[in-house]
C-alpha cells in the first residue's frame, strides 16, 4: 500500500530529540495527582490482599467447584497484554518493519509492567503465599523436587524468563537514548540518565557489539513470546476438564494475547500522544497500522471460537457439548455473548479506513476489545470449572469486593508505573526514529510516496 508522506513528516534529528526530551520535562501537579490516585488504589488493593492473607481465601468468591476465577483470569489477561510489546519490538524488528519505530518503546514498556503485574496474581491467588518458593527447583525436607511434568512449574520458568528477557530487551534498547538524554540534561537528571546509559558514547566498538546483541536478543524473544502464552494455555489444556482440554489452546491463546495486547497499546497511546503532544512522533500512520493488527487478530480469534465450537460438536463428547451449551446459554451465558460482540463484531468496524484513523472511535473499539478479552479468559477459566463432570457440584462464581478491588488495583499499578516511565524515561525511541528519518528522506526524494 502506498501513502502520501507530507514534507513536514521528515523532521531533523534535533526535532526528534526536542520532541522526545520535551516529554521528559518536569511534571506538573496534574501528573502527580494522577500518579497519587493510581497508587492510592494500589494501596487499597494491598490492604485487601493483606486481609486475605490474614483471614484466608474465604474472603474471595472462590468456592468449589470454581477455585480458579478472577485472579487467574487476571494472570492470563496480563501475560497476554505483554505479548504485543514483544510482537511490536522483536518480531517486527526482525521483519525490519519501519512503522514500529514510533510505538515500540511504549509497547515494550507495557510488556515489562504487564508481566510484572501478571506475576503478582499467582502469588495473590495462593492461600499461603509464603510457600511460593516451592515452585523453584529446590528440594523440600523429604528431598522431593518440583514435578517438572506439571504445567504450573513450566509457567514459573516461562514467566520468569519472559520477565527477565523483556527487561533486558527494554533497558538494552534504551541505552543510546539514555545517552542522548544524559547529554541534554543537567543536575540529578544527568546522573539518572547516566546510570541507564552506562557510559554509552556511540563509538564504533559499542555500536558493533550492540547491533549484534540486540538482533540476537530479538531473535531469542520471538520464540519466547510464542512459548510463554502456549505454556500459559497448557495450564488449562493439560487438565482433563471439559472446556479446557483442547489441542487448539496454544495458538488460540497466542492469537488472543496479541489481539488484547495491541488493543491495550492503542488504548494507552491515544491519550498519551495527545497529552504529551507527540502527534508528530506517533502519527496516524502508526495508529492505522496498529488498528490493522487488531482487525487481523480479531478475525483469527473469531475463527478460533468457531473451530473450538465445531470440534466440540464434531467430537460427539456429550460432557464437552454440555459444557459449551452452558457456556452459550447457561446462567452466565450473557458473558459469552458480550465477549463475542466485543471480540468478533465490534472490531469489524476497523475495516473502514476512516474509523482506523478516527482516534475517538479507535479508542472506544480498543476498550471493547480489552473488555472482551478479559471476559474470554473468565468464561474459559471460571465458566468451565463451574460445569464440571459432576452436575451435583455445578456452581457459578461471583466475585467478592476483595477480588474486584485487587483487579482494579492491578490496573492502577500498571498505569501508575507506565505513567512514571513515560514521564522520566524516553517512551519513544529517539535512535530508531532518527534512523527512520534517513529512510523517510529517501522516500520523499523518490516521489513522496512510501510503500508499507
Amino acid at each position: 500500500m502506498a501513502a502520501a508522506v507530507p514534507e513536514n513528516l521528515a523532521p531533523t534529528y534535533a526535532d526528534v530529540d526536542r520532541g522526545v526530551l520535551g516529554i521528559m520535562s518536569t511534571p506538573g501537579a496534574i501528573f502527580w495527582i494522577w500518579v497519587a490516585f493510581c497508587f492510592s488504589l494500589v494501596g487499597i488493593a494491598v490492604l485487601l490482599w493483606a486481609r486475605q492473607i490474614y483471614e484466608g481465601l474465604g474472603v474471595t468468591g472462590l468456592k468449589q467447584p470454581t477455585m480458579w476465577a478472577v485472579y487467574i483470569t487476571n494472570f492470563v489477561f496480563w501475560v497476554g497484554i505483554a505479548h504485543s510489546g514483544t510482537l511490536i519490538s522483536a518480531i517486527l524488528y526482525l521483519f525490519r518493519s519501519r512503522w514500529r519505530t514510533g510505538v515500540y518503546r511504549a509497547a515494550e514498556t507495557m510488556t515489562l509492567f504487564a508481566v510484572m503485574t501478571a506475576g503478582l496474581f499467582p502469588m495473590i491467588h495462593l492461600g499461603r503465599v509464603w510457600f511460593l518458593y516451592w515452585l523453584l527447583p529446590y528440594p523440600n525436607e523429604r528431598y522431593l523436587q518440583p514435578d517438572f511434568r506439571s504445567p504450573l512449574v513450566w509457567d514459573a520458568f516461562a514467566v520468569s524468563t519472559y520477565l527477565t528477557i523483556s527487561a533486558l530487551f527494554l533497558f538494552m534498547g534504551m541505552i543510546p537514548d539514555a545517552a542522548t538524554a544524559r547529554e541534554n540534561a543537567v543536575g540529578w537528571r544527568k546522573k539518572f540518565y547516566g546510570l541507564f546509559a552506562m557510559g554509552w558514547q556511540g563509538t564504533q566498538r559499542q555500536w558493533h557489539h550492540f547491533s549484534m546483541a540486540y538482533l540476537l536478543l530479538a531473535g531469542l524473544a520471538t520464540p519466547l513470546v510464542i512459548s510463554v502464552h502456549s505454556v500459559v494455555s497448557w495450564d488449562f489444556a493439560m487438565a482433563q476438564l471439559p472446556g479446557w482440554h483442547s489441542t487448539i489452546f496454544a495458538p488460540y491463546f497466542v492469537a488472543g494475547a496479541i489481539f488484547s495486547g495491541v488493543a491495550l497499546v492503542i488504548t494507552l497511546l491515544i491519550p498519551m500522544r495527545k497529552w504529551l503532544h507527540i502527534e508528530d512522533l506517533i502519527t496516524l500512520w502508526h495508529m492505522d497500522n496498529l488498528a490493522k493488527i487488531v482487525l487481523l487478530m480479531s478475525l483469527v480469534v473469531s475463527y478460533s471460537y468457531l473451530c473450538e465450537s465445531f470440534m466440540t460438536w464434531y467430537s460427539g463428547d456429550k460432557i464437552e457439548q454440555m459444557t459449551f451449551h452452558m457456556r452459550y446459554f447457561g446462567p452466565q451465558g450473557y458473558l459469552f455473548w458480550i465477549m463475542v460482540a466485543c471480540n468478533c463484531v465490534i472490531p469489524l468496524f476497523l475495516f473502514s479506513p476512516r474509523i482506523r484513523v478516527n482516534m475517538k472511535a479507535l479508542w472506544i473499539i480498543s476498550i471493547f476489545v480489552n473488555i472482551g478479552m478479559w471476559l474470554e479468559r473468565f468464561v474459559i477459566i471460571a465458566g468451565s470449572l463451574a460445569v464440571n463432570f459432576n452436575p451435583a457440584q455445578w456452581g457459578y462464581f461471583k466475585p467478592s469486593i476483595t477480588e474486584i478491588m485487587i483487579t482494579v488495583g492491578s490496573f492502577a499499578w500498571f498505569l501508575g508505573l507506565f505513567s512514571l516511565f513515560a514521564k522520566f524515561l524516553p517512551i519513544v525511541s529517539m535512535t530508531e526514529l532518527k534512523e527512520g528519518i534517513v529512510w523517510l528522506r529517501q522516500a520523499i526524494q523518490k516521489g513522496n510516496t512510501v510503500d508499507y
Binding site: F148, G199, V438
Partner: protein, 166 residues
C-alpha cells in the same frame, strides 16, 4: 594528534571513512547517534564475538535444563500419573526456557564486556552532539599527515574539523 571531523549526515561520514581508509592515513574511529549501517559497511569490522557467546549461553541453558529435570527425577525415581521417570516432552519446555534465558543474559553481558561498558572515561574525540544529531570521524595521525586528513574530511562534507591533543 587527534583530528575530529563532525558530519550531519551518515553517508557523508561513511564517505570520509572510506576515503581515509583508501589513503591509509592514521588510525580511524567514529561516533554515531544512530545504528551506523553505512559506517560499519566501510569500516569492514570483524564479526562480533557476541554471536559465539550467545550460542554458548544457549547451549549451557539447554544442558542446565536437562541436568535439572533429569537429575532431580533420578534423585527420587517417583512415578507420577503413570508417566515415565524421564518424560521428554515436558522437560523440553524447561530446556527451551533456560536456553532463552541464558542466551539472553549472555547477549547482554557479552555486549557489555565486548563494548567495554560501563565506560567511565570519555573516548578520544567524543563530543556530546555525537549522541544527538552529529556523526564524528576521529583520526589519530602524525603531524605531517594533518593537512591531508583535514582536507579529506572537508572534501567529504565535514561541517567542522577540530584538532585535539593526543
Amino acid at each position: 594528534m587527534i583530528i575530529v571531523g563532525s558530519f550531519d549526515d551518515q553517508e557523508l561520514s561513511a564517505r570520509a571513512i572510506a576515503a581515509l581508509k583508501k589513503a591509509r592515513i592514521g588510525e580511524i574511529s567514529w561516533f554515531s547517534p544512530i545504528p551506523p549501517e553505512h559506517m560499519e559497511e566501510v569500516s569492514h569490522e570483524k564479526k562480533s564475538r557476541v554471536r559465539a557467546l550467545v550460542l554458548t549461553g544457549g547451549i549451557i541453558g539447554v544442558l542446565s535444563g536437562l541436568a535439572i529435570t533429569i537429575g532431580t527425577s533420578y534423585e527420587w525415581s517417583l512415578v507420577a500419573g503413570g508417566k515415565p521417570i524421564i518424560s521428554w516432552p515436558p522437560f523440553i519446555v524447561i530446556c527451551f526456557e533456560l536456553m532463552i534465558l541464558l542466551g539472553g543474559i549472555s547477549a547482554v553481558t557479552s555486549f557489555l564486556i565486548n563494548a567495554r561498558m560501563p565506560a567511565f572515561d570519555t573516548a578520544a574525540g567524543y563530543q556530546p552532539r555525537f549522541g544527538s544529531d552529529h556523526f564524528g570521524v576521529v583520526v589519530r595521525c602524525e603531524e605531517p599527515d594533518r593537512t591531508r586528513v583535514e582536507s579529506i574530511l572537508r572534501e567529504s562534507g565535514a561541517q567542522e574539523v577540530l584538532l585535539e591533543a593526543a
